[in-house]
Point group: C2
Chain length 338, copies 2
DNA sequence: TTGTACGCGTTATCAA
DNA sequence: TTGATAACGCGTACAA
């Protein structure tokens, strides 16, 4: 594709200057109407496609946004992307999508490439599992426009869009306590950063609020994926009878679904032998043998808000840093005992 | 981000020419080792990030691929994207992802923008519903490198990667006939292009092969989404008893899932009152109340093969046009009566 | 080994 | 209203 038609080609064909062609094609006012029509016609017939690469070089603006997500097959994220697209579609931005497969190395690599491509900004859901913000801090400090969503890094000068993780986790745990009277409640957690930490805090807060025992063996630190939930649940299942929990709060639905698998394989039944709740409202949640009680996350809305905030941040230097929180709703099904 | 560090900045800081810096940074052989080290160090300390926009302008190569999919929330496509990424990740290409929401207008728009951005090639799963290939024909004729996947346009000079739609549809329909003895079989079809057409053909071929009646009222032309399946099924449900089908072959799983909803709402039971099979092997298929018998499509593999073919087409002018077919497998569950 | 000149396609700026 | 020139950041080709 090195043989593209350029402004100069059209100009030569018409006996005018490239500048005039540029003006005509960009609807500038200072072009003779007759000239403009000739140009438009010629551009059409020659199959001209404007070269945004050259435009970008001049304007230092690419109309391009890099989207970095940890797990494209986790249904939450495609839905977020749809929300992002609703916004970008109406504002001429294109999306570079990169899926990091939960690997921080791949994430750093992707961000490096995206910066080389001079994206106007980045939407990031972090896959970092360690509590070290220095990488992101220097990214933001370098002037790169970033908005975090879902798995956010707060307090480093970038806006964030997330759900009220702590509160939601508190509420769903409270539901298990209040409504069902469980007292022995375990937690299948994610890594102790970002949403993993907050959801853990919500869980702990609920137990404390009701003076329930907190048992270290009930708090498993795992990951966000199905296998992690499966493995974590296996550890719980190994617990002796007297320590066996009555209910489990999972960090998200994929993890919960993995746990359900482990429970079923152990020949136990939900919610009688053990109740379980998730977080996400995955597309599969209502379809499980025992439909999963969970926290509904408005993924589409998260994507939309994040994209809006980023574009405003890109286009206005005065835009403030915000931590935007979108509300969740409890989705009560039957895995909790209801 | 117009204040980026350039080669010239580094050059000035070091008292050398920009060219020397360029050579050092690109690991060219003809640079003094001492100079190279100084440059590398300075580049690091000044926070230099190479400008791919400028590089692309010079080289007419962007290391960028446009991916056009019709429906990002249909789980098949995220899985395809993962397959694409496995390939692009290892070859330094970035993906522009655009979701057209099954709207051909949006697709044309997206392709136009992607061409302006001078992507090196396009991976397209078409959302067109009309049987007019002229748009794609002129796209390919213009020299744009295109590989179609899943919803392909064949015979216009672009490679395609798809599953053996006709055969698979034939086989799953045969299963209903052979294994279960159904004779009155309906089809909830997609638009009559690409996979819609082929899956319809497979269905018809099966009926003909076994001398079964073909009833126009049993062939509903709909769409690929859940609502389309729901609506189509409602039409079948309105049929008088003597014309009521015993089994339904759906063009894909989302459509089948919509149909299942309609069947359940009508108070009928699957498979006793009516059997149903799909096509895709959606993540939800095994989780339905009556697990869905369907055709498993190797989405990841489709993505991988398509990306490989496109990159080869981009990098070698001599690359031939191929219609690549990846095999499916029947996924027998219980909605067929098994 | 290093530097200079030029071009990639476009637009801002100033002159005609 | 139109055109000439320079610049965006980089790499090729050639010269020193």
């Amino acid at each position: 594709m090195g043989s593209d038609v350029t402004l100069k080609h059209i100009a030569d064909a018409l006996g005018v200057s490239a500048m005039t062609v540029s003006r005509a094609l960009n609807n500038r006012s200072n072009v003779d109407e007759e000239t403009r029509e000739k140009v438009l016609e010629k551009a059409q017939s020659m199959g001209y496609t404007p070269n945004h690469v050259a435009k970008s070089l001049v304007s230092s603006k690419t109309y391009t946004i890099g989207v970095v997500i940890p797990e494209i097959t986790h249904a939450f994220f495609p839905e977020v992307v749809r929300g992002i697209e609703e916004v970008t579609n109406n504002s001429d931005y294109q999306l570079f999508l990169t899926n990091t497969n939960e690997q921080f190395d791949r994430e750093k690599n992707a961000i490096k490439t995206l910066r080389s491509k001079r994206v106007d900004g980045l939407l990031i859901s972090s896959s970092q599992t360690e509590d070290d913000v220095s990488y992101y801090k220097s990214l933001v400090d370098s002037g790169t426009k970033v908005v975090f969503f879902d798995r956010c890094i707060e307090g480093i000068g970038a806006s964030t869009v997330s759900v009220n993780d702590r509160e939601s986790s508190l509420k769903i745990t409270e539901h298990l306590i209040n409504k069902h009277g469980y007292t022995k409640i375990a937690h299948l957690g994610g890594p102790h950063v970002s949403i993993g930490q907050k959801r853990l805090e919500g869980y702990l807060e609920a137990l404390e609020k009701y003076d329930l025992p907190i048992n270290d063996k009930w708090i498993i630190v795992g990951g966000f994926q199905e296998e992690a939930g499966y493995d974590a649940m296996e550890k719980l299942l190994d617990l002796p009878t007297e320590e066996f929990p009555e209910a489990v709060v999972s960090v998200n639905d994929p993890s919960a679904i993995g746990a359900v698998k482990a429970i079923e394989e152990a020949g136990l039944s939900i919610p009688d032998d053990i109740a379980i709740v998730g977080f996400t409202d995955d597309i599969r949640a209502p379809l499980l043998d025992v439909p999963l009680t969970t926290v509904h996350q408005p993924a589409y809305e998260v994507g939309k808000r994040a994209a809006q905030k980023l574009i405003r941040t890109i286009e206005r230097d005065s835009e403030t840093v915000e931590n935007i929180v979108v509300p969740t709703t409890l989705k009560i099904r039957s895995s909790c005992g209801c």
